[in-house]
């Protein structure tokens, strides 16, 4: 089972995402932004960071990297793709997920341990969780406010495509407390919090994030 982890210039959490994949007994494969070849991976993680410095708009440049052309194509054929934080922003920019991420309502970068509720356990990345489970995952972002137009929000809610929702105080002004969403086919998931930082209670607030990576391995094994 091979999970590819993309590195753009400015990507920061690639080592963490690769570690999380290994913890879930998958093989982590490094994918370089300038390389169109996905090297035979079965799933892809677009990790967090500040791709190309994010000086223009988060994810706006990364979306055009050669590797993303291949990811968009593979996602179209049902490959599981996970976007975390900057990766979520990139997937939105790439059109794989609806909506966009804007500056936090308090204008500050926020790094804190955040409770999330798992709202959809049928995606390729969440099948290991019980419906409604509450998990503790680090959130760390300056532009994490999820926004979409009302009809998109209605559609997401109606179709059950909100995968994660913030519990307690909304940390960044996200519409409907949305922390993560999925594509129509449930194969592409994006979320602002960082499950790859919650795989071991030694270095994170919990190991609640591991379920995401195990879920992907399950999804691939079942396929």
């Amino acid at each position: 089972m091979k999970i590819g982890v993309i590195t753009f210039p400015g990507t920061l959490d690639d080592v963490d995402a690769a570690r999380a994949a290994r913890y879930a007994d998958a093989e982590a494969v490094s994918l370089w932004h300038a390389d169109e070849d996905l090297h035979g991976v079965d799933a892809v993680i677009v990790p967090g960071g500040f791709s190309y410095g994010d000086y223009l708009r988060c994810g706006a440049i990364a979306r055009f990297a050669p590797v993303m052309t291949s990811v968009i194509e593979a996602a179209g054929k049902g490959m599981p793709v996970l976007g975390i934080c900057n990766g979520f922003q990139i997937l939105c920019e790439a059109g794989l997920l609806p909506g966009a991420l804007v500056r936090n309502k308090n204008l500050h970068f926020v790094c804190r341990d955040q409770w999330l509720r798992v709202e959809n356990t049928t995606t390729a990345w969440t099948s290991r969780y019980d419906a409604g489970a509450e998990i503790l995952i680090p959130l760390k972002s300056g532009e994490g406010g999820y926004v979409a137009d009302q009809s998109t929000l209605d559609e997401l809610e109606g179709d059950g495509r909100v995968v994660f929702r913030y519990v307690g105080e909304n940390p960044n002004g996200s519409r409907n407390d949305i922390a993560g969403v999925t594509s129509k086919n449930g194969r592409v998931v994006g979320l602002m919090p960082h499950p790859e930082h919650a795989i071991d209670a030694l270095t994170g607030p919990s190991d609640d994030g591991l379920g995401i990576f195990y879920s992907a391995v399950d999804a691939l094994t079942a396929a």
């Binding site: 500040f50 994010d54 930082h197």
Partner: protein, 762 residues
């Protein structure tokens, strides 16, 4: 306008010996300028004058502090040096932490720029210290920032603090370095002079240590990273002003702000590029470009090698037009490195830079001469012995006088101040102390920093020290802490600095790590003030003597003078950083209680009536006078050994040191972090106020599982460490009960402790 640019070559300098030069505006004294002329046997060119003036500045040459800093070397014994792989004089000190790992760490100040332009000043402070660590061949692993601001409610603090914090966050977060510690302190003396002391820790395999030197005739000098612009050359503009045609407005570009602008993305890419260059063994020597830019990098690289180097300055990639050689040499544009590379490896070097889209340019080579020669389109603009620039600057023997006010200051202790005695008064005092800006939770600041990136952060603020895992297979890691209670230093600079050392040392041990090495960032007022020089000398001696007593070396440091507003200097602030090693981070001691069922609280150490300079005196009486608490470094060492032994044998489930705010502060923090209540029993024979608020040193509050209590206390008794059973942890309780005195609901404590900074700054 560039057509009228006249280049001041060495030939022109020789021909025009009497041309007046603006050396005073550049900060050189008459005798210093005369010495430059003597060294060169002629007047310096503009470019040479720029180099000497910046390299002989206080910031680069340590001319006022050098005489005193020698004391660190004199007091470091061979045993203390045993684990030191590189020390003072290198970009950063390097320590052998075992298993083939070397760790490098350093703190550097960026105080003045952070006052002028808080965001960029702080951001480039982080950038600079990270490049220092990188230049040792290490992967930067974590940062921490010791910050000092004016009064929390002062209008200007609302300008400076949010900017500094956002700058540290904006740069550090984008580099992907977890921020794992640091300090935030408020005091009126920092109002016009905030302190931004940035620390970075890095690690490498011992065989990969890179030192900055240029040797091997024919080796190429490669400048890589960002282009060179007009940042930070404010001072040198006096040189160029008369070489441009009369219209002053044409020099508008010279009115750029003097603070450099950082680009963390470029630095992140530069870090990864450098690490790949190191891994492929393509670098002979490397130096980062920080203060004094190319002047510093070229002269230091050449001086540390065989001396000979030729630089073709016109090859330097620029981002401004019409820059003069002096400006290019003085530019402090960020995110640049300078490497020495064997000719056969230049192609491979360049290929890796291209992969990372890093601009790299061969700008010269090592020569067999003894001079640093810099040419501009074929004409020589610099021809100097590099050691005279880099290492043979002036050394001052400044007057040192103990201020006449010191006796009065020490005589005016807290003895006459009203102390709370009734339970109600103590209750109110505790809430007042923990909600004061200095004692309150710093989450408003640290929540803006990424503490998780790279997945190796085991402990971070508000833990006593930051703890990061270095080796994922073995669990080996390092703990770092920075500390300085400047109020104590002001009362007694010698003892106050030892207290800073003791606290930092204790903080590292409180996480379960064995302290190994010390770094510092010495922030003081103007060295021209004999009283300030006395504080400085006392601080250096206190620190050096303390380190000798503890048997751990000072591996490096930084001096920042002129931290004052008018005639008023800041409180002397020698920030002391201690690095410790832990063989397996899984045995770290957390800060919060309640992780294990049935814990007993033990107070290790002794409490005396020591409240001069305390948080209580400041918060309740706005008082600073008297004498700081006593220091007992032998006791600190014993305490550290007990903590490490306790952590190794699984006898300690939580620990938190006692410092400002005393036991009261420590209890509140350990309970709120652990989200767990406790019942505390004070000594009936002693004053409860003293027990709760005294700041006696050498104390740590530990929680031990009841099953380990006897074994642990017997060890303390056998080894002669005083201890006192101070209460029990109660996971069922949501309050702090001080038996027979008063009870605080945790919610009340949390509101007091966590509410203050958001109210002031959010």
């Amino acid at each position: 306008m560039t057509e009228t640019l006249v280049i001041d070559t060495t030939a022109r300098a020789a021909d025009t010996p009497d041309t007046p030069q603006p050396y005073r505006e550049l900060g050189l004294a008459d005798d210093e300028y005369a010495r430059v002329r003597e060294i060169l046997g002629r007047r310096p060119t503009d470019a040479e004058l720029a180099m000497y003036s910046v390299m002989w500045s206080e910031h680069c040459s340590y001319k006022s502090s050098k005489k005193h800093l020698r004391y660190f070397g004199e007091t470091t014994t061979p045993e203390m040096k045993a684990k030191m792989l590189a020390g003072i004089g290198e970009n950063a000190g390097v320590v052998d932490i075992g298993d083939g790992w070397a760790v490098t760490f350093k703190v550097e100040s960026h105080n003045h720029p952070s006052y002028v332009e808080p965001y960029q000043g702080a951001a480039t402070g982080v950038g600079g210290i990270v490049r220092d660590i990188l230049a040792m061949g290490a992967r930067p692993l974590a940062v921490a920032d010791a910050l000092r601001f004016g009064p929390a409610d002062a209008p200007d603090t609302r300008r400076v603090l949010p900017g500094v914090v956002a700058g540290v966050a904006g740069y550090g977060n984008c580099l992907g370095l977890p921020n794992i510690g640091g300090e935030v302190v408020f005091d009126a003396s920092y109002a016009g002079n905030p302190l931004v002391n940035a620390m970075c820790v890095g690690a490498m395999r011992t065989e990969d240590l890179h030192l900055a030197f240029a040797s091997g005739t024919g080796n190429k000098i490669i400048l890589f990273g960002a282009r060179t612009g007009l940042d930070g050359i404010g001072g040198v503009s006096v040189l160029a002003s008369d070489t441009f045609s009369g219209d002053e407005s044409a020099g508008g570009r010279k009115k750029l702000p003097s603070v450099q602008v950082g680009d963390p993305f470029t630095e992140k890419v530069l870090i990864e590029c450098c690490l790949e260059l190191f891994a492929k063994k393509l670098v002979v020597g490397i130096q980062d470009l920080g203060g004094a830019g190319l002047s510093c990098a070229t002269s230091e690289l050449a001086a540390a090698g065989d001396g000979g180097m030729h630089i073709e300055l016109d090859r330097v990639p620029l981002r401004a037009t019409g820059m003069t050689p002096a400006e290019i040499l003085s530019s402090e544009s960020q995110e640049r490195m300078c490497a020495v590379v064997e000719p056969s490896k230049v192609d491979e070097f360049m290929a890796i830079c291209r992969k990372w889209d890093v601009i790299a340019t061969e700008i010269g080579e090592v020569t067999d001469g003894e001079h640093l020669v810099i040419t501009w389109h074929g004409e020589t603009v610099v021809d100097v012995p590099p050691r005279t620039v880099a290492h043979q600057g002036p050394v001052y023997d400044r007057p040192v006088v103990r201020p006449s006010t010191q006796d009065t200051l020490q005589a005016s202790g807290t003895a006459g101040l009203a102390r709370p005695s009734s339970p109600e008064e103590i209750h109110e005092t505790l809430l007042r102390v923990i909600s004061s800006p200095n004692q309150a939770a710093k989450d408003f600041v640290t929540e803006q920093y990424d503490r998780y990136v790279r997945g190796n952060t085991v402990l971070a603020q508000p833990a006593d020290s930051g703890l990061i895992r270095i080796d994922e297979n073995t669990g080996r890691g390092v703990a770092v802490s920075t500390d300085c209670n400047a109020r104590f230093v002001y009362l007694d600079p010698y003892l106050g600095t030892q207290l800073a050392l003791a606290e930092s040392y204790r903080n590292v041990a409180t996480s379960g790590a064995t302290p190994l090495a010390v770094t510092n960032c010495l922030n003081f007022g103007a060295p021209t003030d004999p009283g300030v020089m006395w504080q400085f000398e006392q601080a250096v001696h206190g620190l050096a003597d303390g380190c000798a007593q503890l048997g751990i070396p000072v591996t490096g440091g930084n001096v920042s003078f002129f931290n004052q507003t008018g005639e008023t200097a800041i409180l002397p602030t020698p920030v002391v950083g201690v690095l410790g090693v832990v063989d397996d981070v899984r045995r770290r001691i957390p800060t919060g209680i309640g992780a294990e069922a049935g814990e007993t609280l033990l107070l290790l150490g002794e409490t005396h009536d020591e409240l001069d300079g305390s948080a209580w005196a400041q918060v309740v009486h706005d008082h600073l006078g008297g004498r700081p608490p006593k220091v007992d470094l032998e006791r600190e060492r014993l305490l550290a050994e007990i903590l490490v032994a306790g952590s190794r044998d699984g006898m300690i489930s939580a620990a938190h040191d006692l410092s400002d705010g005393g036991l009261a502060q420590t209890l509140v923090e350990t309970m709120l972090v652990g989200q767990c209540g406790a019942r505390v029993v004070l000594d009936e024979d002693a004053d409860p106020f003293v027990q709760l608020f005294s700041e006696s040193s050498g104390r740590v509050l530990v929680a031990v599982p009841r099953t380990e209590e006897l074994r642990f206390t017997e060890m303390c008794t056998a080894r002669g460490l005083p201890w006192r059973k101070s209460g029990v942890v109660d996971p069922e309780s949501d309050s702090l009960e001080i038996q027979g005195l008063t009870t605080f609901p945790l919610a009340e404590l949390r509101e007091a402790w966590e509410g203050t900074l958001p109210k002031l700054f959010a």
